[in-house]
Amino acid sequence: MSIDLSEPLPPCSRPSWDLPEIVEVQTLNTPFEPHQLRNFRSSFEAKTEATEIQIRTNSPIPIRALSPVLHVGNVVLTESEQIGENLYRFWAFEPNRLEAEAPISLSWTNTPNEQLQEPQFRYNRNQ
């Protein structure tokens, strides 16, 4: 009988979830329209005022269970959606808490503040 001797196979591929860099930030004071649900009332239905912050990134944000969040100073914007190629919208439902010149950075949902990327942009209401 011949006896084989081999090296272990490499593990499965690792997901690529590294976040892109923000290349552009825009602030819009547009009315908030929650998604229309067919079977129940959204918990966002009562929210009508919000500040929309749009960011453009240098590559797509990866798709995973966690979502991207935008840190504006100490305020974390957790509601987001993609609205174009490398273009994303984040909602701030308490716009008064956003401080002028607050650093803006992108992270995954549960990233501690101390692990945030160095901010390249700062919050400006008229950006």
Binding site: P11, S13, P15, N39, S43, I63, R64, A65, S80
Partner: protein
């Protein structure tokens, strides 16, 4: 299990040749059976069968392994009869076995007997024997090839070999069939015969020992003929259903005898090369191996033994069991701390080594696998109505796409339904197809299983709105199936019971299925159970209140190596759940986020390296199907499978050593859950607690918030942390009144506290104590009930203090003058010589 191998001659074990244990009658037995299977007897013992006090049959048992002996009986059994068996040798006569009461199979299987399984499969051209399993003892099984019967056995055993004549041709469609009481089962899955391997592999021969008479040959091709030579002399040729065959009745083996075995299939193709085995001397006979034993057991189950050996079991040096494997009945119940000695003897050969076991308080047995229930063929189809789309698996008349619904099942009652939802992943991948294995498992046991296509909501964004959108879409799909149930043209017309509805969601889908019960408003929908697999909790991240799962049974599976939902947020749902019946949490080491879905290919654990390598994808799937089927069988079919979830039994074929469970029943007495806001000094019964001998314990949020003991707690609860200190520290929690706990268990969630970045060397533990009304205290160590789990050593910063429910059986608490029927306090004593903090929660008394 505390085990060691010891030399037998030092033990001075008494020999009592006139004592043998009773054998076992295989359960269940059903009316109309014309045979009874008996297992666990001494080689070649005479087996006597007694029905309602009258001996009706006897037969030589031959080899007790692998299947025992199936003894024909003169009259078919009748429901309500009591069947027993005993064994007799030249020198010994056993007691009668425990009586098995004959049942009516239509009570257990109202839609007909279970579906036979060709096992092993696949089958090959020229095959001469086929194994069929999932049978009811004493019924009739037959095999067809291209719809023509080619073999039959009347009065079968549960796994029956059927000789095939004429042998299979190439490309034939083979099925197995079964009936009992003229009640037919559905046919087995169809297999098409393929060409057998050519050349055939050489068989292997299991180790054989002096004075043995049974030979096991392995590596056999399905349906092959096996020829055995002994020192060059032909011993005969046997047909084999594949994998392995045990050959008994050989003349006693002599050291140095050489056995060779070869296999053959089609004429014209060469036989296999021979496999060889040489008889080893008696001195090489090893000690047997056994499965878990625990206090209260009155039997042992062998996991490795010589097939024809007599197994002898000594309890504290007295003989309490003697029989063949795989189960030996004992004359006494085992208790915590007992010493068991197990040896195996062949005819004139006593093993020189013995197995020594210290009996633990809790060491649950490995039982069947709850995903194995196989009753119906499985139909499936895709569905779409605009954005409402997915796949559905259901019990059908036959296997395949768009088969008719199973008529017999439908004639009995409407059928439960489970909706599944995947999570966020590339919309280019059909994620909804990733749970087809789980859907098929549920369908074959009589549950419709729908997997919703949520790709329209998949992408780069996220948040609570995305979860609400998913919940909305799943409800759309439930409503769509309500429409199918009302549509006379649908295969589901009048078939679905929406009052027995289960939900399973993975990742963001898990978040959504926890949301649904709080918002759904469809008529006649009653959610009985929810399984959240590695769920997100976007409300927590948005600083909104976490949903309290309530009004249904809740279960979450948390992959300890999850590289995506790294916070294992399902623990928050578990902590918040107020179960209608029970809640369960499975924290599973060496698993990741993705491998439960067949369409999600990356190993996400590698994103947060360093992490240990995870188990294979198929082992992930076995965890989901075993525990998921246990959940849905218990809550939707009313079957007794919660033991797999509360830890009183372990599912076979699952890497249960990696599964750490928390479990809580509704309506139990909670001594302390630390949620009352009444300080550490008062428990949940409103009674005082006391800290003695330098104990320093306090209540902390088990959450990632300020005020937590440290950052390693990922739940959403308040619990107690016992701070490091010297050995002998005691925490005493008083009961409201003196209580009889003699038939109860004490459950407590506990965990070794990690600092979040490292895992201390070596395990730790504690003792749980009871104090009776006279002040007598007695203790049981956590190591005697399964031990305190070690933290999962993943990437620093993500190592978690994850609590696990330990079950302490009160009968294990023993001491002189101690009365377990008058308990006034429960105690925790930290007795390890280290400086480790331990977390506790949910101290409860269980009936």
């Amino acid at each position: 299990m505390k085990i060691k191998i010891v030399k037998r001659d030092r033990l001075e074990l008494p020999d009592t040749p006139k004592f043998i244990s009773p054998p076992m009658v295989t359960e269940p037995l059903y009316q109309c059976a014309i045979a009874v299977t008996v297992i666990s007897y001494v080689l070649d013992a005479d087996i006597e069968i007694q029905v309602d006090g009258v001996i009706v049959s006897s037969a030589n048992g031959g080899s007790p392994w692998p299947e025992g002996v199936t003894v024909p009986i003169p009259n078919a059994l009748i429901a309500g009869q009591k069947v027993r068996a005993r064994q007799k040798t030249a020198v010994a006569l056993s007691d009668w076995s425990a009586a098995v009461i004959v049942k009516d199979h239509t009570k257990d299987y109202p839609a007909g007997p279970p579906r036979p399984e060709i096992n092993p499969a696949p089958v090959f051209e020229c095959g001469v024997r086929t194994g069929v399993s999932n049978l009811l003892t004493g019924g009739n099984v037959w095999v067809t090839a291209d719809q023509i019967e080619v073999g039959r056995v009347s009065g079968c055993r549960t796994h029956q070999g059927v000789n095939v004549n004429p042998v299979y041709g190439l490309g034939q469609k083979v099925r197995a069939w079964f009936e009992l009481c003229k009640d037919p089962s559905p046919p087995s899955s169809e297999y098409v015969t393929g060409s057998p391997p050519n050349p055939l592999p050489a068989p292997s021969v299991d180790p054989i020992f002096e004075s043995g008479t049974v030979l096991t040959v392995k590596n056999i091709v399905n349906g092959a003929k096996v020829t055995v030579y002994r020192n060059g002399v032909n011993q005969g040729t046997w047909p084999c259903w594949g994998f392995s065959i045990t050959i008994n009745g050989l003349a006693p083996f002599v050291t140095g005898d050489k056995f060779t075995a070869m296999q053959s299939m089609c004429p014209g193709n060469p036989d296999s090369p021979p496999g060889e085995g040489v008889v080893q001397p008696c001195s090489s006979l090893p000690a047997p191996e056994i499965g878990p034993v625990q206090a209260g057991d009155n039997r042992i189950t062998l996991t490795k033994f010589v097939p024809d050996a007599t197994i002898k079991v000594y309890l504290n040096s007295g003989l309490v069991g003697a029989s063949g494997g795989p189960i030996v009945m004992l004359t006494k119940k085992l208790a915590l701390g007992d010493t068991l000695i197990v040896v195996q003897d062949l005819n004139k050969c006593a093993s020189s080594l013995a197995l020594e076991i210290k009996v633990l308080c809790v060491d649950p047995p490995v039982s069947s696998n709850p995903s194995n229930l196989n009753l119906f063929p499985v139909g499936f189809s895709e569905y779409q109505n605009g954005g409402i789309k997915g796949s559905v698996y259901y019990p059908a008349e036959d296997d395949g796409n768009q088969q008719p619904f199973n008529v017999r099942l439908a004639s009995l009652a409407r059928v439960p339904i489970v909706f599944m939802a995947h999570g966020n992943h590339s919309p280019a991948d059909p994620s909804y197809l990733g749970y087809d294995y789980f859907q098929a498992d549920l369908a074959k046991m009589g549950i419709i299983a729908v997997s919703v296509n949520c790709n329209a909501l998949n992408g780069s964004g996220g948040g609570v709105q995305n979860i609400e959108n998913r919940a909305d879409l799943i409800i759309d799909n439930i409503a769509f199936f309500q429409g199918l149930d009302a549509d006379p043209t649908s295969v589901f017309f009048g078939r679905i019971n929406f009052n027995l509805l289960g939900l399973m969601g993975h990742s963001r889908g898990g978040d959504a299925v926890v949301t649904i019960p709080t918002v759904i408003n469809l008529p006649e929908v009653n959610i009985k159970s929810v399984l959240a697999l590695a769920p997100t909790n976007f409300r927590y991240w948005a600083r909104l209140s976490t949903i309290e799962p309530k009004g249904y049974a809740f279960m979450t599976i948390l992959p300890a190596g999850d590289g995506d939902v790294t916070d294992n947020n399902g623990a928050q749902f578990y902590d918040q759940a107020i179960p209608a019946t029970f809640k369960a949490q499975l924290y599973v080491h060496f698993t990741n986020h993705n491998f439960f879905n067949r369409q999600w290919l990356d190993d996400d654990s590698l994103f947060t390296s360093p992490q240990p390598a995870v188990i294979t994808r198929s082992d992930h799937e076995r965890i989901l199907t075993a525990y998921g089927c246990a959940l849905f069988r218990a809550t939707l079919l009313g079957q007794s499978t919660t033991g797999y979830l509360d830890g009183t039994q372990l599912p076979a074929g699952v890497l249960t050593q990696h599964v750490y469970r928390s479990y809580e029943r509704s309506k139990v007495l909670t001594v302390d859950n630390h949620e009352d806001g009444n300080t550490i000094n008062i428990n949940s019964l409103g009674q005082p607690t006391t800290q003695l001998n330098g104990m320093s314990a306090d209540e902390f949020p088990f959450d990632r918030v300020s005020g937590a003991f440290n950052s390693s707690f990922y739940g959403l609860s308040i619990g107690m942390v016992v701070k490091p200190g010297r050995t002998g520290r005691v925490f005493r929690s008083e009961l409201k009144k003196v209580t009889n706990l003699s038939k109860k268990e004490i459950w407590i969630r506990a965990a070794e506290v990690t600092d979040g970045s490292s895992v201390a060397a070596g395990p730790t533990g504690f003792e749980l104590g009871l104090e009776d009304s006279n002040g007598v205290q007695t203790w049981v160590d956590s190591d005697d009930v399964g031990g305190l789990p070690r933290p999962y050593a993943r990437n620093p910063g993500m190592i978690k203090t994850m609590l696990n429910t330990l079950r302490f059986k009160v009968p294990c608490f023993k001491a002189k003058e101690f009365k377990n029927d008058s308990i006034r306090a429960i105690l925790i004593r930290c007795n390890r010589n280290d400086e480790r903090a331990i977390a506790f929660d949910d101290l409860q008394i269980i009936n």
